[in-house]
Symmetry: C2
Subunit: 505 residues, 2 copies
């Protein structure tokens, strides 16, 4: 039974139920689970763990690659299992628990979690739970639709639970490239110089005796929740493509651009879709998550190769891609997130990083995470790994939200995830601000002229001009800098702020 | 004449006066000059340029490695020469011009300037002015006490002016290691795996016909302005050494620690001096600037090797070190700042980065640059290059300034240079907060308990508790978050803020 999926015969006696495997997880443990952007998470064991905790309370510290699908973070939160959670999440129930202070959430650059584990700066996982399509003849683990932090979790944990998920196409085997940096102080360069280089192994190499349980599951990844492009996201894509055309014309890029990275979500996905109708050819991706747009670009003959750490697709695209995996397999590789996001590789390759901002300010500081400066949305994810080291650090957002009650372009962001030093290009549906080589006052002029929504333009300009009159390299009026956010918090709209600022002029 | 310093005979006819060389710099040009932390700047030509501009106004965009000595930024500012300046400065006259908006200052991560030049995202220098101890038989330029951005400036500029400064010990030749990353998309890994690796050439390789002028000067570098350790800096050093002892005891570091980086300035210098009396042995540095403490540690037999981009010493130490250079030469290397600060190398080597904060907040966000959120002090320098990628990102500051009128630990920083994601350890004379693996509310508790001055502790704790009651992953009270800064701006003291916050509780 399942000898094609568990190819090391000595491991077959580790087959057990999810409940039996979940019983190996004890109160107070640190647990590392597979899963990255709702792809390839262990499914049966965490669900069984949540069920058990409803009757017999226990708490763990949970590390993953990034977000989990199948409402697992919701179930674990509702069952009170999560004492600590890192490094990323997207679940509304968990988000609420994080924001009320009942779950301690550690929001990290996604390339850094396993580095901190390797150096024992974070507690190593006691146990790892990894979804797989197979265990090889050597007892090595073949991941499914994500690699994330799975390899390092399995390497660092004393014990490993493997979930063999029959819902995944077994032909995923061969897609992965598992490379783990060597230990300091004798670490050598990561030998990756092209997006399609393969530098590691096809499976996670661990001693098979660490595998203490094998659970067979049969459940699909959750489909992505990406929205189709709309007029605003199309306008953002158009501005960016015009900018790229200018860069090519100026000789700063070839017409295959550079390796593209796109953050998760509808706007970045729409921007990538915009490249289908562009003049650029022979594109490549070196990104975290491969979304629908990646495969749209491959199908359009535009994208020659995509490197990622996970594949997260809509329900429609899921069947097409994984049902025809042989069509795509030689154009894809999945890597550990430490490598997909590694500063060394991002800088070497010259990535064009396209990520979504929650809001940005006059001077190009970007808030990616905190609504109103206090409430965690999802986490910084890999945006900082890419933005800091990218050839071009691009942030995109619609200029307004909630029907205009919120301006995404503000005098001062309420929380900073990416500083002015790390942000090259800002794009809204209004236009594109090219901040490269500009001083703060020049950056502000570009943001006001090109990015802010017309309904907020006069107020933002008024703030800036009065701040300039007061002086400073980065002019601000400290008494007013947070006013738009305060008005939003207190009245549900920044419009009050706008009127207030204008009235005080 | 000077044939020992200009060893390619065909270049001897390029010898001319500083005035003649300065005349090659035209209005509107972009100029790249040597100089990093007041070490190795071209001296005669910029001074002649300032003198000329007083009679015949002209403006340039000036790029350097980092700060210039010998009041050159002051002279150039007063002569109205500077339209634009990047990527760092420390001059009070220039600072004033930056803050009143008359000089456009672009504050950059020091590893990134030449990367942006290489990709033509910044305008290439029309002309470079590089201080040297010699020009080799091949016409290559041997720098003096800094490398900084000199190599790339000379490579990118169409024309190069060389200042041969007779005041420097010619034995500096052999100290430098000039490695320039290859162009994308065929860039290869930087082959540096140990702090003492030599991976490049001893001189800046340019075609000799690009050298259009050679000026002979005889003027010392400005001495550093570093202050001797005091009780507070000693306390900071003691806290940090205790922490390092704990890391060694826990097996997270060996007793040679990791390669050390120390930011410029008195506090970081004092912390390094503190290591003289520590139990750690066989230390190494991989830093930007080598200050007095580097040589104190070498003399004490504690430091086996130091890699930097410049050497900046006090007057006393200057004579001892450069007068006995043979004693130190096999323990030193000077590299381009792109390499001394490169994310790839910093992450690979596992640097312990120690940098000075202007202020930090409850959650570990650090302001390194802007007084009151608006006024530029010096610039971010290399602190971000190191902090983001370090094994340990440590920020140090005294807990109060101006006799207690200012708390360096605030509810919310007025400007963010290093986000909470990038800050591991905070140290004041009060104690050390170890933020690794902590969620924001836990970080705040550590900062309040260990870092803030007692006179501000109750007020900070009060802010935090009321913010927590309101909720959020990163609790803040937006109406009060900037109040301490506002009080400082309006009353000259944050004490008003403290009383105000307490009264509103």
């Amino acid at each position: 039974m399942h000898s094609d999926r568990v190819r090391l015969p000595s491991l077959l006696d580790k087959l057990m139920s999810a409940e039996q495997a979940a019983a190996l997880i004890e109160d107070g443990m640190t647990v590392g689970m597979s899963g990255f952007t709702r792809a390839g998470e262990a499914k049966a064991v965490p669900r069984a763990l949540a069920e058990r905790a409803r009757k017999h309370p226990l708490q763990i510290s949970l590390m993953t690659g990034a977000s989990l699908g199948n409402d697992l973070d919701k179930q674990l939160t509702e069952a009170g299992v999560l004492a600590r959670r890192m490094p990323f999440q997207v679940d509304s129930t968990l988000r609420k628990a994080i924001n009320d202070g009942s779950v301690m959430f550690i929001d990290q650059h996604l390339s850094e979690t396993v580095e901190q584990l390797r150096n024992h700066q974070l507690k190593l996982p006691d146990i790892a739970v990894i979804e797989a399509v197979a265990i090889t003849e050597d007892g090595h683990i073949v991941p499914t639709t994500s690699v994330g932090n799975s390899a390092s979790f399995a390497i660092f944990a004393k014990r490993v639970i493997v979930e063999i998920n029959l819902a995944h196409n077994p032909n995923l085997e061969g897609l992965h490239d598992i490379y783990i940096p060597t230990y300091r102080p004798t670490r050598t360069p990561i030998p990756l110089t092209r997006v399609d280089d393969r530098i590691g192994s096809g499976a996670i190499p661990i001693p098979p005796e660490k595998i203490v349980a094998i659970v067979v599951s049969n459940q699909a990844d959750s489909p992505s929740t990406v929205l189709p492009p709309d007029a605003e996201t199309q306008a953002i894509a158009d501005h960016l493509i015009d900018f790229f055309k200018g860069e090519v014309a100026a000789g700063r890029m070839s017409d295959s651009l550079g390796p593209l990275q796109a953050g998760i979500g509808s706007i970045a996905n729409a921007v990538m879709c915009g490249l289908i109708e562009s003049p650029f050819e022979n594109l490549s991706m070196y990104s975290e998550v491969l979304q629908d747009s990646t495969f749209d670009l491959i199908d359009a003959g535009k994208l020659r190769f995509a490197s990622g750490s996970s594949i997260t697709l809509s329900a429609r695209r899921n069947a097409e891609v994984f049902g025809n995996l042989e069509k795509y397999k030689d154009k894809l590789v999945l890597r550990p997130q430490e490598i997909s996001n590694h500063p060394e590789v991002v800088r070497r390759l010259g990535i064009i990083g396209i990520n979504t901002a929650l809001e940005f300010d006059l001077y190009g500081n970007v808030n990616s995470t905190h609504v109103g400066g206090t409430k965690m949305m999802n986490g910084i994810g890999g945006s900082g790994d890419f933005a800091r080291n990218a050839h071009l650090a691009i942030f995109v957002t619609k200029s307004i939200a909630k029907g205009g009650a919120i301006s995404s372009v503000v005098p001062m962001v309420s929380h900073v995830d990416h500083t002015e030093h790390d942000v090259d290009i800002l794009v809204t549906e209004q236009g594109l601000a090219d901040l490269r080589g500009l001083a703060p006052r020049e950056r502000a002029r570009a943001v006001i002229d090109h990015c802010v929504h017309p309904s907020y333009r006069a107020a933002l300009n008024d703030y800036f001009e009065r701040a300039c009159a007061k002086g400073g390299h980065t002019p601000h009026l400290l008494r007013e800098a947070m006013q738009w956010h305060i008005d939003l918090e207190e009245t549900g709209s920044m419009i009050g702020g706008v009127l207030g600022v204008a009235a005080s002029a």
